[in-house]
């Protein structure tokens, strides 16, 4: 399979062309069988280092699963208290040292730009698994993979719902969808609207962007509902939070008149924004989406350290 993918690191979706995204998604599709358990030794003898300076469940464990399912090994930074970090070692030194032990590094860190810093000092490829409020490109790639597998990337009509101001996943996803000419509706309370510079960036790429506060207004007219969590701490007034949170809570009744092929996605963890009753409707795809993190991360690892596609 020819590949357009020539990257050394995976840091930000802004660095991906549509062709590069397509090559990752195509490879992920061919690796899905291994993600489901078929034995592979594609990455035998290779070691992936996980440097998580912040808690993570899905991202950390799906990277670990991806590496192990392809026959590779994983080393973990472990709790920061027990490591050199607590002795005041810089991130630059940490990645230089651990880069000497492994074939690639996955990093999650609370500071924005930390993954790019790591890429400047690491002797091996760096994958950004979330840098503060910055980027989380592997989440965006698995979102795109989910849309491609469970809906369609061409002529897509999608609603991004919830906290569009602070949510890094929706910023990256909106940017990537603009490469596919998607029709995007932004649904959020007024105080959590998508920042103006991101919206104008989308419009400048010719993407159709609409904004509304009313989820009811859009639910019947889209192919994908991408839900996100509205965090309580964003609202100084608890009464206001309750009001907003309840108006963005997805229930089966909400979906009664939706298109048959509508899919509901969520980066998880969910709290109240999708009721458990939605799980058994034909629309729910969020657990499938979470699983797709494995083949997508397999594809990236294979491209970066397994000799390409």
């Amino acid at each position: 399979m020819p590949t357009m993918f020539k990257k050394r690191h995976v840091l930000s979706m802004r660095e991906f062309s549509r062709e590069e995204i397509d090559s990752v998604l195509d490879l992920a599709s061919s690796l899905e069988t291994f993600a489901r358990g078929k034995k592979s030794d594609m990455l035998a003898g290779k070691i992936l280092a996980l440097l998580f300076f912040e808690p993570s469940t899905r991202t950390r464990m799906s990277f670990e699963t991806a590496m192990k399912r392809l026959g590779g090994g994983v080393i973990n930074l472990g709790p920061a208290e027990g490591s050199s970090i607590s002795k005041g070692e810089s991130l630059a030194d940490t990645v230089r040292v651990i880069g000497g032990y492994a074939d690639a590094l996955v990093i999650r860190h609370p500071k924005e730009g930390s993954a790019r810093l790591a890429s400047e000092f690491s002797p091996v490829p760096v994958l950004n698994a979330g840098d503060g409020a910055g980027h989380h490109p592997t989440q965006t790639l698995l979102d795109l993979y989910t849309i491609k597998k469970e809906s369609r990337l061409e002529d897509l009509s999608i609603a991004l719902v919830g906290d569009l101001k602070y949510g890094r996943t929706v910023h990256s996803l909106a940017y990537a969808l603009s490469l596919y000419g998607a029709d995007i509706t932004l649904v959020s309370p007024p105080s959590l609207r998508m920042p103006e510079p991101i919206k104008s960036d989308l419009s400048s790429k010719g993407t159709k962007v609409r904004e509304t506060c009313d989820l009811n207004e859009v639910v019947n007219n889209v192919d994908v509902l991408y839900m996100t969590r509205i965090q309580r701490e964003r609202f100084p007034d608890p009464v206001e939070y309750k009001k907003v949170a309840s108006s963005y809570r997805l229930t089966p009744e909400f979906l009664a008149n939706a298109r048959n092929n509508l899919i509901v996605m969520h980066p998880l963890p969910r709290v109240d924004e999708i009721t458990p009753a939605v799980d058994t409707t034909p629309h729910a795809r969020y657990f499938q989406q979470s699983f797709y993190g494995v083949p997508v991360r397999m594809a990236l690892l294979k491209m970066l350290i397994g000799g390409g596609a």
């Binding site: 991130l91 500071k111 924005e112 790019r116 810093l117 840098d131 910055g134």
Partner: protein
């Protein structure tokens, strides 16, 4: 108030012509000290300096002028001035004559001149890296931090290192 004019009309001079060095003219009024900061010239310098501030200017209304004696500033040093004084002109003086006159032009990337305005950016920590800003637009100036990608457009002087 270029050097050439100054030599013809010495009685109107606020500061006498310099023999050798660099004259930075057409700095926006009030920005002279920020220009010195960008050039790395601090209050403890032993260079012979003249600073004229808020004099009348046809082009700018009010302008500042900085004269640095016995030092010919290099192009990459002075181009960074364009961040806060895009209309500045640089005159290199030898033996009282202007031997070179040029305008400032921002480079594509500026290093260690302004810090990122994002307090949570990795470049604002004790990591062994320099602040690096990509110049995305020159007029008005739009910078983007190479680390966190946060833009920086106004109040640039507040973020000078």
């Amino acid at each position: 108030m270029s050097e050439a004019v100054s030599r013809d009309e010495p009685r109107e001079l606020r500061v006498k012509p310099i023999k050798n060095g660099t004259v930075i003219d057409h700095i926006a009024g009030g920005q002279a000290f920020n220009v010195l900061k960008i050039l790395g010239i601090s209050g403890t310098t032993d260079a012979t300096l003249s600073v004229v501030m808020n004099v009348e200017s046809g082009k700018l209304g009010k302008k500042d002028i900085v004269k640095v004696e016995d030092r010919e500033l290099k192009e990459e040093e002075v181009n960074r001035i364009a961040l806060i004084a895009p209309a500045a002109t640089i005159n290199i003086i030898r033996d009282y004559k202007v031997i070179e006159k040029r305008h400032v032009d921002l480079p594509d990337e500026i290093v260690s001149v302004v810090r990122c305005q994002n307090p949570n950016c990795i470049s604002n920590t004790s990591e062994p890296i320099k602040s690096r800003m990509l110049v995305k637009a020159k007029n008005p100036v739009l910078l983007r931090c190479i680390y966190c990608e946060q833009p920086l457009t106004d109040r640039l002087a507040e973020y000078l290192i």
